[in-house]
């Protein structure tokens, strides 16, 4: 009997520590599948963030570097500039990337660093137990917005893809989601394209993945996916925000 479905080689054979219904596991798998398909496990170096996935270096079989909160794009810059023939990716959450690490991601994109960032947006701080994230929605109840996020008190949720797509150094920016099979397949295609563009030297690439956090949202996994579809997708529309290959083709 032939095997038609197996664990990607780049994904370690270890049980994940994430909560039930969390989508980090799916996203890890997509990255590992892309690494396998491109045959780049041996030359890939990943950068782990601070947050629920601080130790995702346990789950990827490629070389891994753990970074301080928000600094993954700077660490990746140091790696990529030192290893011109390698592939470097960062894996970052919304607090890591869009709050404490805003300067690092903006300037990595500005410089056109040839790295790929997988940006997991679940609109909340997971590991520290459910505080407001820069991407939390208006009205969203968190442990630091107990009466809901109010613009006059807490400001507005930041749209990272829209922001970064204005920068010339950004080669590919797409927002995806992992709420259903169709979107999961699209997310994988986006991650693959981002890695390929990094390898061709096109510039900075980022794939945002809308994700759920059933534990801190206080919902079961199914209800969480519905909340993502009804609320997050409205504020964070899916799609390609920047693609230098498309604009080159149009010319």
């Amino acid at each position: 009997m032939s095997i038609v479905f197996d664990r990607p080689h780049a994904l370690a054979d270890k049980p994940l520590h994430y909560c039930p219904g969390c989508t980090h596991g799916i996203i890890h798998r997509l990255i590992a599948e892309v690494i396998d398909e491109l045959g780049i496990e041996g030359i890939t170096v990943g950068v782990s963030p601070v947050g629920c996935t601080y130790n995702n270096y346990e789950y990827f079989n490629c070389d891994m570097v753990q970074a301080a909160h928000g600094r993954a794009p700077a660490v990746a810059t140091g790696l990529r500039r030192s290893l011109p023939d390698n592939v470097v990716f960062t894996y970052q959450g919304d607090g890591d990337l869009a709050a404490i690490g805003t300067a690092e991601i903006v300037h990595a994109a500005t410089r056109g660093e040839r790295i790929t960032t997988v940006f997991v947006n679940n609109a909340i701080y997971g590991m520290t137990s459910g505080q407001m994230a820069p991407t939390s929605l208006i009205g969203q109840v968190t442990t630091t917005t107990p009466f809901g996020r109010k613009p006059e008190l807490h400001g507005y949720p930041v749209r990272v893809c829209e922001l970064l797509s204005t920068l010339e150094g950004a080669a590919y920016i797409e927002r995806t989601a992992v709420n259903n099979v169709k979107n999961i397949r699209k997310a994988k295609a986006a991650i693959k394209k981002a890695f390929e563009l990094q390898m061709s030297g096109a510039g900075f690439t980022l794939v945002e993945v809308l994700s759920t956090c059933p534990t801190n949202w206080g919902m079961n996994p199914v209800r969480s996916l519905e909340w993502l579809e009804k609320n997050m997708m409205e504020h964070y529309p899916l799609g390609v925000y920047k693609d230098v290959t498309a604009s080159a083709a149009a010319e």
Partner: protein, 353 residues
Amino acid sequence: MGEKLLMKGNEVIAEAALRAGCRHYFGYPITPQTEVAHYMSRKMEELGGTFVQAESELAAINMVYGAASAGKRVMTSSSSPGISLKQEGISYSACAELPMVIVDIVRCGPGLGGILPAQCDYFQIVKGGGHGDYNLIVFAPSSVQELYELVVHAFNVADTYRNPVVILGDGYLGQMMEAVEFRDTEPVEHIDKPWATVGTHMKREHNVITSIYIEADVLEAHNNRLQEKYRSIQKNETMVEEYNCEGADVIVTAYGTVARIVKNVIKDAASEGIKVGLIRPVTLWPFPSASFVKYADTPKGFLTVEMSAGQMVEDVRLAVNGRNSVEFYGRTGGNVPEQKVILQKVRDIASRV
């Protein structure tokens, strides 16, 4: 020795790093060390190395973290307020055991302070401005020639011990021009880095660079191993200049350019019949405590002179351990300890019965 040139300290730092095989530099402009970046930006482009002007000191030290993870000889330079910002990355690098050279050309503080020279970063560099139990190896050159030699040495020591190394110089050292004689070939040690994250190339298990150990016993074991390493550094890497200390009436302690002022005082005092010795720590960590233990009972008293409100003097007092008096004279705000004031303090100590 080879070519002899008149060069500014900051440029010598950059040149020495290049000679030591450093091809990766990440920095952010801040007075009075920015000439390091000027020199590096030109040379790295010519040599095909990496120069990145980062968006902040935070980013710069984390770029260093990345390049060091890849096993490269890498350097950053800054000055006091910038070093405060780098402290996060320095603590992480010490824990992750990443070799790197960090240059701090110290200016006066606290706060934004001023841009004039000072030695007020002793605490934040030698005692660790970052969190956790760690030590940096700290060199304190007192001339441009010594600056050159210690920068080259620093890269070897960093690689040997997998530890961040700091060159701590006051603003004078960075800004002044002095003759420097370069060696024809540098004593560069090539140390294997099998731990570096350069890609597995499908030939080994993956390497991981990390500074997080969630389990108490695992983190304690890591700390114990670090402490063992620090003890071996203390044993093997301490450097000190003991000058004129045998039978001295007074022993003065100073590091960096202040030690040069003290040498003038030693001449002045000798003409008055007072024998003054100098203990000049070349490594501030490991601190040369043994020299103080050796001479603790020799003089009528010790005097520590710094361009600070009194920082290294704490380590001098710990080393002397109550066996003798340790007095302090310091200036702040960018002012320099005056030769005549040091001489008067020496006379006062020497005149004790």
